[in-house]
Assembly symmetry: C2
Homo-oligomer: 374 residues x 2
């Protein structure tokens, strides 16, 4: 089936929305944070562990899976769910972002037809088009596919942004025409760079094509936070209320809060697992690095009040030992904690929307969280 | 409490024994295979996963934990069980083997008092004595501690082996005198190199000291299999029937079978997790490397009949993808499978002892297993 979004409640003082997403794998609640399983695995974790963190949808990356193991193998395995043993909804990105961020030497050649680039693994020449991206995602058999877009660099001239945004619209149309899978939903992506009129134009034109959901793209590319929030504000007014809105690549707790307040329903980011691999943990009072010497004899959990597996059974001293001794179980425990942290944040956000006190919640969260970070 | 061994049955046609080991953490069955958690973690796995494989006792390494994080930190954490969250019996080795195999540049200076050597981590000078080894193990608070011994290299002259074996006996006595923990059992280690009379002398003298169990040491140091089996044969006749016998560092399936047939009750080895990190899996028809191209589109489990988590939910094609893409979940799945493989082997061995058909079981196992390996 195609996903369906049910708007349950608008928060009184903000644009925040409480909703349900009905998927092939049951109903999930929004706003939500989606952990990223780039290569068909959420780094270091089992699908059961990810689910235990409260995950609804998880992501997988089209570009990475196209290169390795290849969409045909995933398809022969019976699709991504069976391949990676994830019994829940999966969203695949279009590959567009990775082409721009990972292509070897960042050299790429964008034509009307598509993008020529070289594999970051072996330098092999590759050519991705809107149709090809959809074809790959069809074979991967994710529940939600994304339209192929160009992620506009920041900063970019108005002329560049305009031409790119218009081409992304043509690509969206081509992708939609190529998409035939009734079991897979397809999202459109709003581009436009930092330019309000382009964002509005992109939103309006994308919505005209009637996608199953809409993403705000081109963020997290080096623009400041204010610019990012403006990018959301510019586009979101023009997105329909009965479809989910997805802010791509955003996982900073404060950005999630700011996004929700502006009406975003879905977020994803590699941040929780990437931080974990570097020994970092989210806490209510900011990020901490567990490798720090001061945790050597700290026999308390990462966070006393946290309900994750890591915090229920292990101390900072033990996790620090694992990290220092280069034992992968350390990154695994931190990944669980960090993913749970962001999912718990969205659970509390949903509660705050119910209670119409999201702004108070945000103020309180930030007042504690920012002490250490800023 | 001290462990107690209960001999339940001798197999009719071999020296194999079926037994119970009563420990601080309940009763476990022997013969058994003990997974190794060198640095207070069984590499890539959670304690729950290790238990799900059917583990009874697990190992941790005194030398590694002395260096990192240090026994005082483990002690302050409340001991090894609490530190690593393993709710089952733990055995610590004495550090002797690691001093000989891991000491920086293998340079060490053995005196009557103990061994001077350098850390393999930072080259720091260290001095380990029988008393110090016991003190560290006391602080780690394992359920079973091992006596500090010299692992005689292979080959070694008769004179060297004799002098070393006699010193190990004096070290065993010193360690036993230093050991006061009523909650921790202490095993003696039989040395003697490849020399029958030294093995017999070592066994007899070690047994006179009345340890809670006995280990056959100095194997797996490059001697051939026949030599290793002879080392067991030479010593085991002189070990008491009411104490457990432990063959250190042995994890090859055929060696486990040969050991059990000779009367050994306990085995440990890093093999299952080490093989996993290199992409290798045990199967009934021999070891296979999952990275092999032929598994690229193999959508069957590692072994159809295996009951482990990896085989229940994942295909060779998926695990191969994880290994190729350098995702740690691949080594984790293989570690689970390999540990389960050896534990399942000991379960079947126990069944064969009950049915007095261990030799038939061994023949059948080897006839399948050796096809690929030899």
């Amino acid at each position: 089936m195609k996903i369906k979004y049910e708007l349950r409640k608008n928060e009184k003082n903000t644009s925040a929305r409480l909703g349900y997403l009905y998927t092939n794998y049951g109903r999930v609640e929004t706003p939500m944070f989606m952990p990223v399983g780039t290569q068909a695995t959420i780094k270091t974790l089992s699908p059961e562990e990810v689910k235990e963190c409260g995950s609804g949808v998880v992501l997988a990356n089209t570009y990475h899976l196209h290169l390795r193991p290849g969409e045909d193998i995933v398809s022969k395995a019976g699709g991504l769910h069976k391949f990676m043993n994830y019994d829940g909804p999966i969203l695949t990105d279009s590959g567009g972002f990775q082409v721009f961020s990972l292509a070897k030497n960042k050299k790429k050649d964008i034509t009307e037809e598509g993008v020529h680039f070289k594999s970051h693994i072996d330098g092999k020449s590759l050519f991705l088009t809107p149709e090809k991206s959809i074809e790959i995602q069809n074979k991967l058999d994710s529940d939600i596919a994304m339209s192929f877009d160009e992620c506009i660099p920041y900063p970019a001239s108005y002329e560049y942004a305009k031409a790119s945004t218009e081409r992304t619209l043509r690509w969206a149309k081509r992708g939609k025409d190529a998409h035939k899978n009734e079991n897979q939903s397809l999202f459109g992506i709003v581009q436009g760079g930092e330019y309000t009129d382009l964002r509005i134009m992109s939103a309006k034109e994308t919505v005209k094509m009637n996608f199953d959901g809409y993403s705000i793209g081109g963020t997290s590319v080096g623009e400041g936070k204010d610019v990012m929030y403006k990018m959301i504000d510019d586009a979101i007014l023009y997105l329909p209320k009965d479809k989910p809105r997805y802010l791509m690549g955003v996982g900073d707790p404060i950005d999630i809060l700011e996004g929700v307040i502006r009406g975003v329903d879905m977020f994803d980011c590699v941040l929780p697992t990437r931080l974990a691999r570097h020994g970092n943990a989210f806490t209510r009072s900011g990020k901490i690095n567990i490798k720090n010497l001061k945790f050597k004899e700290d026999f308390t959990p990462i966070e006393d009040e946290c309900d994750c597996y890591a915090c229920k059974h292990y101390t900072k001293a033990y996790i620090r030992h694992l990290l220092t001794a280069q034992e992968t179980f350390g990154a695994r425990l931190l990944s669980i904690h960090n993913i749970r942290f962001l999912i718990k944040l969205t659970e509390e956000i949903r509660e705050a929307i119910k209670n119409d006190n999201l702004l108070e919640y945000k103020e309180e969260f930030i007042s504690k969280y920012s002490k250490k970070n800023n």
